[in-house]
Symmetry: C2
Subunit: 370 residues, 2 copies
């Protein structure tokens, strides 16, 4: 690292993965972080300083922002003066409003063209453990959903009944999310979408759930202390699945598992996506647009998971990335059709630096629940 | 509104309250939103477009971003060309990286000096209802915590025991959060901090809970559909509270209730904070700094609540705001001392445009739980 290289960040530990990665501090409100000659300083409000000192990563200096001024611009200008620095590299997400004030005050800000924390993409064994812990919490949520669906019955009109009332997306989601909480993670926007709702990949699901139709459960909890996410999707049917749903399930499973077999050091992320698409095509689950709305496999194959739920690498048709070892990422092909719904199966993969492919997901695969 | 006035936003419905307020759309990933001559356009990815069309506010145009280009800069430039606009107002939080690319492509961006969505501070009756719904979910969480603490016993060494095991912050938080989920909201970073941990206002709490010491519970759920928050804090003691804790509780309650009596149209937010400080001083709970760490009442008296958990107005010593009716905000004085912990009591207030002061919090006030 360049000795006189200075960097500047503003963000909350909740919203800025970079600031959390560099400092280890998580806060609900924004704070300022400076890095100079490789050492990191966090400037904290009175409200946060004592807790920040306890949780900061080794080597991070935690100082009271009030020693430097009251407005953000004053605080940064004075801190820069103390460090004898006039020029900072900032991430592309740096807020324009503050950037303009700092430039007017005589500082030079340069937007970083390279990843701001390049180390983030290659996970340490400790990070893999933290991600796995969140993944286990998500799996506890899925296991609870399976139990609820096993206990449930089917009404004459095809509704799923549980504990003497119609089972809804909301009830099933609350059961999943409580199991996640009891496993020590925080549920975020758990998807529990049935039938036609499952044809929209990010529809959270609402209202009654029905037998003989897909129920997509996409579960992505975050550990509140570490900030690391897990991510898991399974699709099930209560009762018997119609042939089209069964075939779609087998096609998506084939796509996911074939991609997993093709993961290796140097693998091209866009090619992995195209491989999944090819297999889905082979099973005659085609992708396209009809009446302005997409159908088939119209999202990326996967994404990195860490301090962000969606981070590098991206496994999508436009990705230019190659896997180089250390990445944790999802493999989650899916197909979606307005006529009957959708199927998505998502596993979380850790490609070790030696090329070993580890599946971090332990949740079982099955479609029908009796 | 100026007829040729154009504005530009980039954000996710999760992270950007402005984009959610203007479009009604919530997404995990960023999207582009343009406003021109008062009409709002959201440019969505294939993944989100069908759901976005269903949830968008009336009058919002939802168009596929792929009609305009592939990179953000291309999409915005082409959309601006279609609208024959070369100049946009953007919020201070607009990302510097994209701003520089757009400027290089010939667009003019001006950071808004005024609030980007000035209507957000004055809540409509519908918004007050949505906030109240989240508040009720938080109260269900608090009620569950009280039940757990009532069921609990005290060991000879002063530990709190529940269901035959020591009660921890983690277990109590999971009970609170499950009750929130079952009430239809999402728990976020529920604070359940006992004894000395409660002397740090944002310490989430961990490990065993003890009798005869404060337990601060700060509960702020968010409704996943509407995006509106609730916010509630109560402090309780299992068993008998020591005199200092009882006196601090009475002082904080006096501060909160006196501030509530002084809320009116035109009230000065900084003066309300100072009033709370004065009352705490009168009770001899002083504020200051010792060994570089603050003690007493060292956070703001309150903050607005809506699509953000912390939004305008700010009730703090440096606030320059006056209440003008329509605001929903917290009143949450607290005192914190390393020697024994902290007390915070937080109510949520709706100041109606006619000057009526409505307390949206229905949770009861008490200190000791037998």
């Amino acid at each position: 690292m360049n000795k006189n290289f200075a960097r500047l960040l503003i963000g909350s530990g909740e919203s800025s993965p970079e600031i959390r990665y560099l400092t280890g501090i998580s806060t609900p409100d924004d704070f300022i972080c400076l890095e100079y000659s490789g050492s990191v300083t966090a400037l904290m409000s009175k409200l946060e300083i004592s807790r920040a000192r306890q949780v900061a990563k080794p080597g991070v200096s935690v100082l009271p922002e009030s020693d430097y001024g009251t407005t953000r611009c004053e605080i940064i200008s004075k801190a820069a003066g103390t460090m004898k620095v006039k020029s900072f590299e900032v991430p592309p997400s740096f807020p324009l409003g503050i950037a303009e004030k700092l430039r007017a005050a005589g500082l030079t800000l340069t937007v970083s063209e390279r990843p701001f924390c390049p180390g983030r993409i290659s996970k340490t064994p400790e990070e893999v453990e933290l991600i796995t812990a969140s993944q286990r919490a998500g799996e506890a949520g899925f296991a609870r959903a399976v139990t609820v669906l096993q206990e449930a019955s089917i009404s004459n009109s095809g509704e799923i009944l549980w504990q003497n009332t119609p089972l809804t997306s909301e009830i099933l989601r609350a059961e999943i999310d409580c199991a996640i909480l009891k496993s020590g993670s925080l549920p975020t926007g758990t998807i529990c979408a049935g039938a036609i709702q499952s044809s929209q990949p990010h529809n959270c699901g609402s209202g009654k759930l029905y037998a003989a139709a897909p129920i997509v459960m996409d579960i992505f909890p975050r550990n509140p202390e570490s900030g690391y996410w897990g991510d898991l999707t399974r699709t099930v049917v209560k009762g018997k699945a119609p042939a089209i749903v069964k075939n779609a399930y087998l096609a998506v499973k084939d796509a996911r598992d074939t991609v997993k077999e093709n993961i290796s050091l140097g693998a091209d992320c866009a090619k992995l996506h195209k491989l999944a698409e090819k297999i889905l095509d082979k099973h005659r689950f085609f992708t396209g647009v009809s009446d302005g709305e997409p159908f088939g496999f119209f999202h990326g194959l996967g994404h990195g998971v860490g301090l962000e739920i969606h981070e590098a690498p991206r496994l999508s048709p436009r990705s230019t990335e190659k896997l180089s070892g250390g990445e944790v990422f999802t493999v989650e092909p899916g197909v979606y059709y307005r006529e009957w719904g959708g199927i998505r199966l998502e596993d979380l993969i850790y490609l070790a630096p030696d090329g070993t492919v580890n599946c971090l997901t332990e949740a079982p695969d099955f479609l029908e629940i009796d």
